[in-house]
Amino acid sequence: MTKKKNRSMIQRRLIPTYIFLIICSFISVFPLYWMIAAATNSSLNVARGSIAFGNQLMVNFANLKNAVQGTLWSSMGNSFLYSIVQTVVTLFVCSIAGYGFELYHDKGKDRLFGILLLAMMVPAVATMVPLYGLVSKAKLLNTVWAFILPGISTPFMIMMFRQNSRNFPPDIMEAARIDGLSEWKIFFKMYVPVQKSIYAAAAVITFMNAWNAYMWPKVVMSDNRAQTMPMFIANISSGYTVDYGMTMLGVLFCSLPTMIVFFILQKQFAEGITGSVK
């Protein structure tokens, strides 16, 4: 009885929180609703800002399938391929680096980290020409490598793992070493499992960045057969006359995978392993 009362009291006290979250969610989701509604409308109605549902969904879909020489599905496939490869490789490379920087930290490594951090501070426009030259000379244009190589090791991801390793107790590592575990075993058997929430968050972010990457892929994936989803969208959304209904349907296709990946992984990073490091 008291338990039940207690619970309803807690829920009642949470009412302002619910209201606040509902407002935030509404503001966040409204454009998505608009996008879905627009995907069912004719181009003219979208341009005029109509937010009601229309009956053009199938027409838009038929147009979308034929757009850019019918490359909708291959663009989707390419984007999946590149993003997944990018995510897996990035997570591995950056997590071991972040782990190394934090848990073996000394003056030298801290200084090196500071230097690596500088790499992200120069606007991409400045490095695009030399980087393109590099990739072009290595004969990697239009391959998955051209897409992922510049993005595998980012100071941001290393930093994310470094900062979040700070709560990993060194005593545990010491104990493990006395137990005879090798350094790699400590990483795989002890660090990786307890950092599940960080891996999940990093996976979401990396996947999203890879999936939405546009400026770099555009210059290295010039062949239509290697094009990604955002390039496909760019191809249908510029020009003298844009079919907005079709474009919005395409955009919906382009936005869904990231949302799904987020939805799958959000439980992992938000309700992960509270208190398991003991």
């Binding site: 619970r7 829920q11 929180t17 606040f20 979250l21 935030c24 969610s25 966040s28 454009p31 998505l32 979208v46 800002g49 937010i51 490379v93 071991i96 680096a97 190394g100 073996y104 000394d106 490594k109 090196l112 690596l116 951090l117 790499a119 992200m120 501070m121 120069v122 606007p123 426009v125 400045a126 490095t127 020409v129 030399p130 590099l134 190589l149 510049p150 595998i152 090791s153 994310m160 900062q163 979040n164 700070r166 070493r177 350094e183 990483f187 929430s197 968050a201 972010i205 999203m208 955002p230 969208i233 919005m248 955009v251 382009c254 987020f262 939805f263 959000q266 439980k267 938000a270 509270t274």
Partner: protein, 320 residues
């Protein structure tokens, strides 16, 4: 040990010393091993950054001392020509002002908002958490094309926002939000907050998982209210994450490009243009690029980000 043991039976008084030596020996190889492993862990990432980032950056740095376009590019005379040219560049100065305005207004609001949301969504008793989290994350997963189209459509002179404000009676005639400097800047800031709050929330949520729930329980018993727990427990424990998101947001905002290009095209009359947008225009936006000048401007951006990030690390990133 066993070998020693055999001898030690004869010389019991040596036992203590041998133990110390043993410990020392073992400790040294372990430390060496540890050190090697530490460097090994960070080698792949470091090599990649050196090839994929530092090599192009050095190339760009050399280019920043050159002038001319295409085949006519050559070292400038004086070498710092591009850097001194910036001082006279009215549009670059405008872009700098705009960018810093976005930085100062947007980053604090967004980060505070993100921590707050993460804290609310970390409540064990809250229902529909997954749904709320996904909803709030959605904006940054939405493709740029649709988001800019929707924002422009909403804030158009004949758009939704205008008609709502008219109906409520806040305004008496339609406002050209994106065509007026002050409102256009405000919209860019709103758009940035809308798009990136959920993104930053992800890091805080992940970071909060490392804080044990018992800490909060203890605080509750001590009589701390919601705000007090937030400021005195959550914020300090999230400090590493806050430092990281602050650096990332500063970096992202000083290199802001998408919103300026897609929402306002930098207009009206360059009143909303950002540094990166201006640099891009000079490099790829208006015919053959002036790469010497764009590289020089990029290094100014680099210096500004580096200084702010350095301050951030010095102030916030302490191991205690």
């Amino acid at each position: 040990m066993y070998i020693h043991g055999k001898w030690l039976a004869h010389f019991p008084f040596l036992k203590e010393r041998v133990d110390i030596v043993e410990k020392k020996k073992k400790g040294m190889t372990l430390a060496k091993k540890q050190l090697a492993a530490g460097w090994l862990f960070l080698t792949p990432a470091t090599i990649l950054i050196f090839i994929m980032s530092f090599y192009p950056i050095i190339q760009a740095f050399i280019t920043s001392f050159k002038t001319g376009k295409g085949i006519n590019i050559k070292f400038a005379d004086p070498l710092t020509y591009n850097y001194s040219r910036m001082l006279q560049d009215v549009i670059f100065k405008t872009s700098m002002k705009n960018t810093f305005l976005y930085l100062i207004v947007e980053v604090p609001i967004m980060l505070i908002f993100a921590i707050l949301l993460a804290q609310l969504l970390n409540n064990k008793d809250l229902k529909f958490k997954g749904l709320f989290r996904t909803c709030i994350f959605l904006p940054c997963a939405t493709s740029l094309v649709s988001y800019s189209l929707i924002f422009k459509s909403m804030f158009a002179t004949q758009g939704l926002i205008n008609s709502i404000l008219l109906k409520i009676g806040i305004i008496s005639e339609n406002i050209n939000f994106l065509g007026t400097a002050s409102t256009a800047r405000a919209i860019i800031i709103i758009a940035l907050i809308w798009r990136w709050t959920g993104y930053n929330m992800v890091f805080y949520l992940a970071g909060l998982q490392n804080i044990e729930y018992s800490v909060y329980e203890a605080a509750k018993i001590d009589g701390a209210n919601g705000w007090k727990t937030f400021w005195y427990i959550t914020v300090p424990l999230l400090k590493p994450t806050i430092v990281m998101t602050a650096i990332m947001s500063i970096n992202g905002t000083l290199q802001l490009f998408d919103e300026s290009v897609n929402l306002t095209s930098g207009g009206p009359a360059n009143q909303t243009i950002t540094m990166s947008h201006y640099i891009y225009n000079q490099a790829f936006g208006q015919g053959v690029g002036n790469f010497g000048y764009t590289s020089a401007m990029s290094f100014i951006v680099f210096i500004m980000v580096a200084i702010l990030a350095f301050i951030n690390l010095k102030v916030g990133d302490t191991r205690d």
